[in-house]
């Protein structure tokens, strides 16, 4: 039974990894063929870095992800504090609306924002591009920040805040000294989640970007529309490498922390 489980797990992992593996192999392929490996080359990597559209959209993606995640973390943290203090009914209404971008299919969120932007564009000289992208990203990021923070309030001892005031803190310093450290893990994980979602998003960006400003996933999409573009293989390999390194570093750090705690 145990052996069977291991074999099954191996098969599923094979299924999950084989496409990525193939992409990596063919990123070093001399010819444009997708089936025959004719020789080793780094040409596609060179071409990738010479491709201005890719580089500029990569820069764009990072700028938007950084800005959107920072703004949504601030906005979301304040929101969570306020929502936590609300009475039951308004709280439920706000949380339900907040959940919409998470529950709704991405395409619906994207399309709805596009409708709004089209409406504004016609009346206020708004152009599809950086601003619309940033607004869209903040909009789908904030709910994740709020959802990461809210449970921390529930886990927190409700008397902490009072105790701090009892010991001489004014409401503001009580918040900074006691409440903020308690919800900080939620703030951090909310920020990281917002950042990764922003980096990764395609669907919503697709409907809210303009020709002046695109994100990397949108550029990738237009590349896949052309029949053969081996630069994508090279790009995938690099992204995969970066992800693997980040995750390994993250795991090593966590493992160290765990060992420290045990010691």
């Amino acid at each position: 039974m145990k052996k069977l489980g291991k074999i099954y797990l191996a098969l599923v992992l094979f299924f999950l990894y084989i496409p990525i593996f193939v992409l990596i192999v063919f990123s070093f392929n001399e010819s444009k063929s997708r089936s025959v490996f004719s020789g080793f080359t780094l040409d596609w990597y060179r071409k990738l870095f010479q491709n201005d559209i890719i580089i500029s959209s990569l820069v764009n993606t990072i700028i938007i992800a950084v800005l959107a995640s920072i703004i949504s973390t601030v906005l979301g943290t304040l929101a969570a504090i306020g929502i936590n203090g609300m009475r039951k009914v308004p709280k439920a209404v706000v949380m339900n609306i907040t959940n919409m971008p998470i529950i709704n299919p991405e395409i619906v969120t994207g399309v709805s924002l596009m409708l709004l932007f089209v409406f504004f564009a016609a009346r206020m000289n708004l152009e599809f591009g950086f601003v619309t992208l940033l607004i869209a990203h903040i909009t789908f990021d904030v709910p994740y920040v709020i959802l990461n923070i809210m449970p921390k309030f529930r886990q927190m001892d409700p008397h902490l805040y009072e105790a701090a005031q009892d010991l001489g803190c004014n409401p503001f310093s009580a918040f900074i000294k006691v409440v903020l450290p308690e919800i900080m893990p939620g703030v951090v994980s909310g920020f990281l989640m917002a950042f990764t979602y922003s980096l990764d998003d395609f669907v919503i960006s697709y409907f809210t970007s303009g020709s002046s400003s695109q994100t990397l996933p949108v550029t990738i999409y237009s590349m896949t529309r052309r029949k053969v573009s081996p630069e994508i293989n090279a790009l995938s390999t690099i992204i995969f490498g970066v992800v693997v390194i980040i995750l390994i570093v993250k795991n090593v750090i966590e493992l160290r922390q765990m060992k420290k705690k045990e010691a």
């Binding site: 797990l9 990525i20 906005l75 203090g85 907040t98 709704n104 299919p105 909009t139 709020i146 995750l247």
Partner: protein
């Protein structure tokens, strides 16, 4: 203390960028180009019934395959030793960190008429088979992309099932199957329902997978919407109506799913 005022900026943001846009979908769905009220858009959605059925059908199949595939994976993971669990989970989730488009593109490479699989089949004298641009390829793309969405919620529920509860079932006369259906499945029900929604919702609304792996002949609801907004068929009113119907379908299915999910179950 009046902490609720600090959420004011967000409340404004939420209203303008979440609530109003969704209302606009509803408004667009029920108005015509000149701004007058109409139900024509909704009626027109009926013309695309076949696309709706195909979308529902393919995403139901994909969700079912994901459930069947993911269930043993999650169970095996949840029974591993703690420190190995973390590593294995990371390995299972790692492909998710690659952009969705790249993962789908990878399958284009594999399934293409001159792709790797057909090349390998050719070596043993089979094919070339028509793999890409089929509805099978679309389902495969859905399963591949969304399988981790099924594994994760199942795993997080199963890991809370105490080993001794499973032993107790065995102690009380359950063989493997009885243990599975009388204890493990009921206890993992919350994970099953959230896994199903997490796979079904993106599957039924995708337009990438169908476009990249399904060719032109396997249009889904997502493609239909996209075409109304960014395609040649430009008609945001019809697009809004289709979106609205899609939201209703999803709402209905999620309500049904919630019926199966026990509400006040506390795992000891």
């Amino acid at each position: 203390m009046k902490t609720k005022w600090v959420s004011a900026p967000y409340l404004v943001w939420m209203t303008v960028f979440i609530a109003v846009p969704l209302l606009m979908i509803a408004v667009f769905a029920f108005t015509s180009n000149d701004g007058g009220f109409t139900i024509k858009n909704i009626q027109d959605v009926g013309q695309y019934a076949n696309i709706f059925f195909r979308s529902i059908w393919l995403s139901v199949i994909a969700t079912a395959i994901c459930l069947v595939m993911a269930y043993p994976v999650s169970f095996i993971l949840s029974r591993m030793e703690k420190h190995r669990q973390a590593t294995m989970l990371m390995i299972v989730m790692l492909p998710m960190w690659m952009n969705f488009l790249l993962r789908t593109y990878a399958w284009m490479t594999l399934l293409g008429n001159n792709g790797v699989i057909n090349h390998l089949l050719g070596l043993i004298g089979i094919g070339p088979l028509k793999l890409i641009n089929t509805s099978g390829a679309v389902v495969l793309g859905m399963v591949y992309n969304y399988l981790p969405f099924m594994i994760l919620p199942l795993y997080s529920v199963m890991v809370k099932i105490d080993k001794s509860v499973i032993e107790a079932a065995s102690d009380l006369g359950c063989g493997s199957f009885a243990t599975l259906f009388r204890v493990i499945v009921p206890l993992s029900l919350p994970g099953i329902t959230s896994g199903i929604t997490m796979v079904f919702v993106p599957a039924i609304s995708t337009f990438i997978i169908s476009r990249m792996l399904g060719g032109g002949s396997n249009l889904l609801i997502g493609d239909l919407i996209e075409m109304q907004f960014l395609g040649n068929a430009y008609n945001p009113h019809l697009g809004a109506a289709i979106s609205l119907v899609l939201m209703v379908i999803i709402l209905v299915i999620m309500t049904v799913m919630n019926q199966f999910s026990p509400d006040d179950q506390v795992l000891i």
